[in-house]
Symmetry: D3
Subunit: 139 residues, 6 copies
């Protein structure tokens, strides 16, 4: 319960002190959470769909919306990679290029997969990127 009541403040006030250049892996992560949530719901359309649509309709919308969300994941990750990270970061984290390449490829794979386990892998790839991002911010 404590955790729940604290989380909001953390999330909302997390980046008040950004000095300049506002970047945040949360943007990619939120979209990726959406991707995974869609993969979850795709598994059980009858549970999630509303009365005005068939299970087939619901699934078609899942695919369509996931496509867009996965594109947003890519976009946010690409921006971080190209715009935020500098040569000095790369020296310290030589795996950075490969991490981003795999994470964006995983976002591409999310368009072709309805399996939430795939979405989980995408989230984990983003968290690896996020971990490094926050290390560079607190350095």
């Amino acid at each position: 319960m404590l955790k729940a009541s604290l989380r909001p403040r953390r999330a909302v006030y997390a980046h008040c002190d950004l000095p300049c250049g506002v970047y945040d892996p949360a943007q990619a992560r939120i979209e990726a959470e959406s991707v995974k949530a869609i993969q979850d719901r795709y598994q059980d359309p009858d549970k999630w769909k509303t009365a005005g649509e068939t299970a087939e309709d619901y699934r078609a919308r899942c695919l369509h919306i996931k496509e867009k969300r996965a594109d947003m994941v890519k976009e946010h990750l690409w921006v971080l990679w190209t715009d935020y990270f500098k040569p000095e970061h790369l020296e310290k984290y030589p795996q950075l290029h490969e991490l981003f390449w795999k994470a964006t490829k995983e976002a591409g794979a999310a368009k072709k997969s309805q399996d939430p386990a795939q979405g989980q892998k995408l989230l984990e790839a983003i968290d690896e990127v996020g971990k490094i991002f926050w290390e560079t911010k607190s350095a």
Copy 2:
């Protein structure tokens, strides 16, 4: 220092446990932080501009990019207002409509103002929304 080293984890893992329907006021906030950062930098173009552009060029880009960021703030707030909040929330928080209206109007005002104090007001409006959002999530 402890604060700095903890923040990353909080931000990156904050919404792992979202059940379904991924909404997060952080999306509006990140864009609003960008708006305020641009207002700050607009004040001192010679400090921030690169060698290949004049102070006038830099300011023109400030205005242009801020316009877009402020639009994103609006978009994210509108989505929260229409898609996330339900009649039961409104019963408990009758000020909700007014809050969102003022917050999105503040985002509109941000296009016309280069004053970081205005951007700060926008951030505070978003945080009021965010506070309610997280209360409804932990309820």
Copy 3:
């Protein structure tokens, strides 16, 4: 017949005299008419589809295009709500926030419903907004 021959002029010349700030609920309405027309056509794909596509293909396109049109309805309504309406309007029409909230929620519902009766409700919600809009313009 007179009505038909007059309508064009009315529509085309309707807003020649806008003083400043060009807003028009027609933008939301046109998109909502498109939403309803798609719901209608979804009911009878064999009647509407062309030779090069199956009924299933046609319906998938209905869903996809309706999703986008419904988003446009929301966008146009949100802009009216935040950008056009002022506190003095709200004093005179205290139901304004609720009207817009319900109208944009109805646009969201249109994504999940293939029933033209739902689209009709969306049109009526927009017309309620439109009625107030034009009253404020002629005031």
Copy 4:
């Protein structure tokens, strides 16, 4: 006064009876009215700007927003030309291609001109298109 009180209803209910395929030159016209309104305001920035921006800032925003509005005019006109009009319309109105070409070129010219007289020419070009459109609808 009668005119003012009637106009709303006309605009709002104008296209209730569209049979299928929702097209309306009003979409292009509304954006073009916005273009012309911006050209008007550009002439007197001190009158229109808010306290938080300079006249130069205001004009930069005029140019930027006009660019986007003019693009929307083009987009809406192109859609009408390619999607709505059929070979039988062209037989009856052989000037159609030329009209659309000139109207979209005028929209392009609007990006490069701050003169409201230019915006007026754009509006007139759209009205020529609109006149034919409504003739084909009432035929």
Copy 5:
């Protein structure tokens, strides 16, 4: 083999010497090739789909992505027609309006057809436009 090894250089260096105003029918063509490739793949989903999706899912994605690509074809063609071509070109090539009208209509037809033969007709229409374009450039 010679052809294959030469092609890259041609494509990559083709427009180095553009004087001003960068237009290139290749933009429309690349999107149209994508349209046709999707129509091809739609015919045999089991061959092309990945393990994480059904044949139905794959086809739904074909339709959705083709819709977008066909829109890009239209956009690029419209821009060429309105922005690049001048009255003097039209005098020399009086068929220009009709060519563009048919080519963009073919792009619209591509949304409704899964037949690669239709996509081939779209490519041929673009190549007719392209032939004239390059004649005007080398004139």
Copy 6:
């Protein structure tokens, strides 16, 4: 002269034989050519502007449009990097990540620079990518 008359055919028919997966570095290159052309024209606004705009207006539009074109360059490069290139390509071209990172950073730098020499560097970075791309296609 021979070169000029041949170029069209090459560009227009260059990719007729693409097997599946339509990628082409020409998309990034065309946008980058536009970036450089804008930098060139920015140098001499009085030569390029039309009668309806001031030199300042013209330059503001240069900055605004270049911003968008540079974003397109990034987008097209990112897509090539993530979607086209496969691990086996990376084995053969271990410099690939670094090339793309620098090319997209150069596209970012183009937003901040009015110097055509910078645009030339962007074009050269894209051509390095393009050279490898076409080698992998003809392999």
